[in-house]
């Protein structure tokens, strides 16, 4: 892994303008991704993890809009790209795999047709026969037996795990520098999930691409990621290396998530400790810390003012008043 910056997200804000009001789905997040790094973005549904990824690749749909911030990829500002530039960029430099492989493949085209389309879109000079060869090679890479026969088949003839493999082959056919995987294993069974994760890991090691892995499953994160970002209500609450997130979590929400899961290796029965309350209503975000109303250690200031960023170690940051002692004292004195 080299330490050159690939992607830099700075104070990104994305809002959806709905009839009921503005929903701030992503509310000022910043992080960087180095070349060859695997980063996990964890959060509940509605925490903005997918929206954030969609805005990188320019797939945000109306009424969603980037309202502020900067996305820099390899030193270039992605938000200033025109539609044509974005088309060249998408699938070529960055590609994405989605949660539901059935709805992402076109049912009326063969697998081979869809694979070669992705390739020839970006490599205009390539002949059809060469594109087919490349497609066969990609299917082999993702572990599909008998690829010559498979490229003539339609998506409905493949099983769920196989379709996800085809999706991965399609995403990787132009050898992108960054792969965004949006809950790629959520719709799959545990045994197939294990196969797909193993596959992504292998390909990542072989090609050295960077991966953004979006999931709500902390177990998957533990297995594949170098760095983890925990999101809640459109904001980052904690970001750290995978070891720090699991062995030294600082934010009450991260801690709560870890405690609410049954331990697979527990020797005796241990009662789960849930996070009380319900996820936030994104239309009426509380002022102050969004997690405050559900936090067991909530203080008065948490409900009034958004928590500051606290740097715990070089790559470990959390946003919580509990950690910001000095700032908290200062606030108290000002009252």
């Amino acid at each position: 892994m080299d330490n050159t910056k690939l992607l830099d997200i700075d104070d990104l804000k994305v809002s959806f303008f709905t009839p009921a009001g503005e929903v701030k789905a992503v509310n000022g997040i910043s992080y960087t991704l180095n070349k060859g790094q695997v980063i996990g973005i964890v959060g509940e549904s509605g925490s903005g993890k997918s929206v954030e990824a969609y805005s990188i690749i320019g797939l945000l749909q109306s009424p969603g809009k980037v309202t502020g911030g900067k996305i820099t990829f390899n030193g270039e500002d992605l938000l200033s790209y025109s539609e044509e530039q974005m088309e060249q960029f998408r699938g070529n430099k960055v590609s994405m795999i989605f949660q539901n492989p059935m709805t992402c493949l076109n049912p009326v085209y063969t697998v081979g047709n869809q694979l070669t389309e992705a390739y020839r879109c970006h490599r205009k000079e390539v002949k059809k026969e060469d594109a087919i060869k490349q497609a066969v090679k990609m299917l082999e890479l993702v572990g599909i037996n008998n690829p010559e026969r498979r490229i003539k088949q339609y998506p409905h003839e493949l099983s769920g795990g196989m379709r996800q493999r085809v999706m991965i082959a399609m995403a990787l056919i132009c050898s992108p520098q960054l792969l965004i995987a949006d809950e790629p294993t959520t719709a799959l069974d545990v045994t197939i999930q294990a196969q797909i994760i193993e596959l992504i890991k292998q390909i990542q090691e072989k090609t050295g691409m960077a991966v953004i892995f979006i999931t709500h499953n902390l177990g998957v994160v533990a297995d594949i990621c170098d760095k983890v970002i925990v999101m809640y209500a459109g904001k980052i609450v904690e970001s750290a290396s995978v070891e720090d997130i699991f062995y030294n979590p600082k934010h009450p929400y991260t801690l709560g998530l870890l405690r609410s899961m049954p331990k697979v290796n527990a020797l005796d029965y241990e009662r789960l400790i849930p996070i009380e309350g319900t996820p936030v209503d994104m239309l009426n975000l509380p002022s102050g810390c969004a997690f405050g109303p559900r936090c067991e250690k909530c203080m008065k200031i948490c409900l009034r003012q958004a928590p500051p960023k606290v740097v715990i170690s070089e790559d470990h940051e959390a946003y919580c008043w509990l950690l910001a002692k000095e700032a908290y004292e200062e606030e108290k004195n000002n009252d």
Binding site: S260, M261, T278
Partner: protein, 330 residues
């Protein structure tokens, strides 16, 4: 610890086939559940795990006769609920009061045009559990209270609730008839991580309070282990292993249980990266034409010639630990 408990639900050679093509001479079936036998003891939680399409939901629904079984027997408290040799039909309304179900998708299992009070009250009306309107209302409020909702929620519609709250309504509806046995069909898989543990704890509390018996169907193995006393592992319509939950996790006997357990993601980076995963080759075969012999032999790393010929017998290999595999037959 479960030995002295009495059997509540006994399932014998239960089969459920779904016809998919009815031709003139040839009929094709999906063999969803094939010859499954096990017992559920009073007051315990029996977990059922397996990949999607292995027939665990069909089995759960066949037991309470939401699906009409193809053949076999189901006994509840010693009395037949379904018996393919018996002509006389049991009084199902009586058993519906004893056996209830909680569904996977909370938003799809609640009628969007009924208020919460009516959804819960419907069961009370059908079974005539309330003498008058006042009593009916009081019962509904008590049920809402039990599942962590309050009286002001009674007149709202399902869409006004979050997923976790909708699941609570589904649980209140199942509890309305004061059942003894509840089939929990993936009750938490549609919920957010932080909400899942709330529902799991609530189910455990209710079991402690009123002595419910659960059949807990799920594909999240860590949750199943947490909540269950005993676990059954299913593969392609067959029950391949049954045992106490800790025993299954520490010492799985059937090769399929071993692979299933090794595939579970562990939320601990050191453990997760250090352990050896058994990655199965291939996909689950179609239940329309399952492989002969042991149904797992096409993917089993230890398959022997006999596995292709004869289906293995379900045997007690260790005390209270049953498995169906030729590897243990000598």
């Amino acid at each position: 610890m479960t030995e002295d408990k009495q059997d509540l639900v006994v399932i014998k050679n239960l089969k459920k086939y779904f016809p998919i093509k009815t031709g003139f001479l040839k009929k094709t079936y999906v063999q969803a559940v094939e010859n499954v036998s096990f017992t559920i003891k009073k007051g315990e939680t029996f977990g059922l795990v397996g990949e999607s399409g292995c027939g665990k939901t069909t089995l759960g629904r066949s037991i309470i006769r939401l699906y009409e079984p193809t053949s076999g027997k189901v006994f509840y408290d010693g009395e037949p609920v379904y018996d393919d040799e018996e002509k006389k039909q049991p009084d199902m309304l009586y058993y519906r009061r004893k056996m209830q179900i909680i569904f996977q998708d909370p938003s799809a299992s609640l009628d969007p045009r009924m208020t919460v009070a009516d959804i819960i009250g419907e069961a009370i009306d059908i079974h005539k559990l309330a003498q008058n309107k006042q009593e009916r209302f009081e019962k509904i409020i008590a049920l809402l209270d039990k599942v962590g909702l309050n009286s002001e929620h009674a007149n709202r519609y399902p869409h006004e609730f979050s997923g976790g709250q909708q699941q609570r309504i589904g649980i209140a509806r199942a509890l309305a008839v004061e059942p003894e046995f509840i089939v929990c069909d993936e009750p938490i898989s549609a919920l957010d991580v932080s909400i899942q543990s709330q529902i799991v704890n609530m189910l455990e509390d209710m079991q402690a309070d009123i002595g419910l018996t659960y059949l807990f169907i799920a594909h999240d193995l860590s949750v199943v282990r947490h909540i269950s006393n005993r676990i059954g592992v299913m593969y392609l319509g067959n029950l391949v292993e049954v045992g106490e939950s800790n025993e299954i996790y520490k010492n799985p006997l059937h090769p399929y249980s071993k692979t299933l357990l090794s595939a579970v993601p562990v939320p601990d980076p050191k453990v997760s990266r250090a352990r050896q995963r058994i990655i199965l080759q291939g996909e689950i075969p179609s239940p329309i034409s399952p492989p002969p012999g042991c149904r797992f032999h096409t993917r089993c790393p230890y398959a022997k010639p006999i596995c292709k010929e004869a289906p293995p017998k379900f045997k007690e290999l260790e005390p209270n630990h049953y498995a169906a595999c030729h590897l243990f037959s000598n």
